[in-house]
Assembly symmetry: C2
Homo-oligomer: 281 residues x 2
């Protein structure tokens, strides 16, 4: 098996693209009055998933690729954007058999189809450890993308669903429809990838504001600590003016005061969460 | 050192971007009548460069990042496009010190500045081996991008410079200006990343044509074999109608006949070159 034979099995064309896989670069023709949003996420064996996951009874290659793409889709959801296409770079170790690679792409293309995301290209290499880097492009009406630096004191804070229960989930469901419904209503938005406390801290830092939390909706079977500090929830966290009606669960209010300070029931809440770099400090 | 402290040192804004580093996704506002082109290239320790290169007297972190970005820029050059922005994903092993990472970004930003490429975002993780994935976006007038599947029998074949001499070069110079000058003149174009024979084979396969080569321009100090089969040249390989005047060195002619067959002075030329997957077959 070589790079050409892997690429030959992947879809060539897609309605959104002038040119997909097979040239030096993919070609995308922007529509009038759209902004494009771009994100990329690494997914590395031994870091984002345990090496054993690649062998039964661990995560299947389909689950792995679903997760790798879903993480980038969640970023696009947090911008209120519609996914357009992805570039997928794969570094493949020797244990990745032809069947494993086919199943990986099959899982990826399954979620890509569900979300109208074209596979437009990527790169392939061998390596000692499995690494995927998924770049995703989305589109949104010009000037309307949801950002994290635009929350205002007095805004209500919401999450798109109860938190802390990711361990009980089969797979991540990116909140794409939820994100798009916030366009023109939410003042700021971020996805909860590293934990509510950390991601709210990031939103507060960017918006130069603080936050006071009261009710934290917790998934059945999860603890408050998991709801506050566990990553991998992939719900949306957003703000909206108090009189604006938005879907979701209200968890607090944005405030003036020390930028990025967060309280829960009046007590300081430390922005602890999942950080790959913690071990490097 | 953590992810936030690395990102804090990188440039925040760029004229081409509505929003750069620091949100869930970067925002790019397309101009009227432009197509956007996208490529991504992996650059992995032990595969694309030897592990020893990260330590003196090997390649410096600046040279490494120059090379990682230049490979993607070369793809954009081959489309005749103008670079706009890049997303850079880095997986960093323990040996990558703060100073090493700073110098890596310094080299990257140096070439990015020279080529008007914004650093719009990326991802960071720890890992056992250094891995970079550089996604690059470029723009080109609508419908004008140079492709590899549009060469025609009778077209002359050119390269942008003599081949086989990459070992003598300090660094890769992406042929961006040369690529843009081919717009509206060349019928097809590809960059020579894996060797003339392999990359011409790819162009012929895509264009469903064959090729007859005569003169091969060889870099001083290189052999014909190196000029034909060594990768890393990063010159452009392109075709144009015989009466169209284009810059470059003429090396042969596109022909009808067995798709992808290539001859040199009438003798069959095997499409051998650099292929990371050869060891996997």
């Amino acid at each position: 098996m070589n790079e050409a034979s892997i690429l030959a099995k992947l879809p060539r064309k897609h309605r959104n693209l002038v040119l997909g896989i097979g040239d030096d670069a993919a070609i995308y023709r922007p529509k009038a009055n759209e902004d494009l949003v771009f994100t990329t996420d690494l997914f590395i064996e031994g870091v984002h998933f345990k090496s054993e996951w690649n062998r039964p009874p661990g995560l299947s290659p389909r689950s792995l690729s679903h997760r790798a793409l879903a993480r980038s889709l969640s970023d696009i959801a947090a911008m209120g954007a519609r996914p357009q296409f992805c570039l997928v770079s794969l570094a493949l170790p020797k244990w990745a058999t032809e069947q494993w690679i086919e199943e990986f792409y099959s899982g990826l293309l399954n979620l890509a189809d569900q979300t109208n995301t074209a596979l437009a290209g990527g790169d392939l290499s061998n390596a000692k450890y499995f690494t995927a880097d998924v770049m995703l492009a989305g589109s949104v009406a010009r000037g309307k993308a949801l950002r994290r630096d635009t929350a205002r004191a007095g805004d209500s804070i919401y999450v798109s669903g109860p938190l802390g229960g990711w361990r009980h989930r089969e797979s991540i469901t990116p909140r794409l429809a939820e994100g798009r419904k916030l366009l023109g209503k939410a003042t700021a938005c971020i996805d909860i990838s590293d934990g509510l406390a950390v991601d709210l801290h990031r939103l507060c830092l960017a918006s130069k504001a603080s936050a006071a939390l009261d009710d934290i909706p917790i998934q059945e079977g999860a603890t408050l600590k998991q709801a506050l500090h566990d990553g991998e929830d992939y719900e949306l966290l957003y703000t909206a003016p108090p009189r604006t009606r938005v879907a979701g669960l209200r968890i607090g209010v944005m405030q003036k005061g020390t930028p990025s300070a967060i309280t829960l029931h009046g007590q300081p809440l430390e922005p602890l969460g999942y950080d790959h770099f913690r071990t490097r400090t």
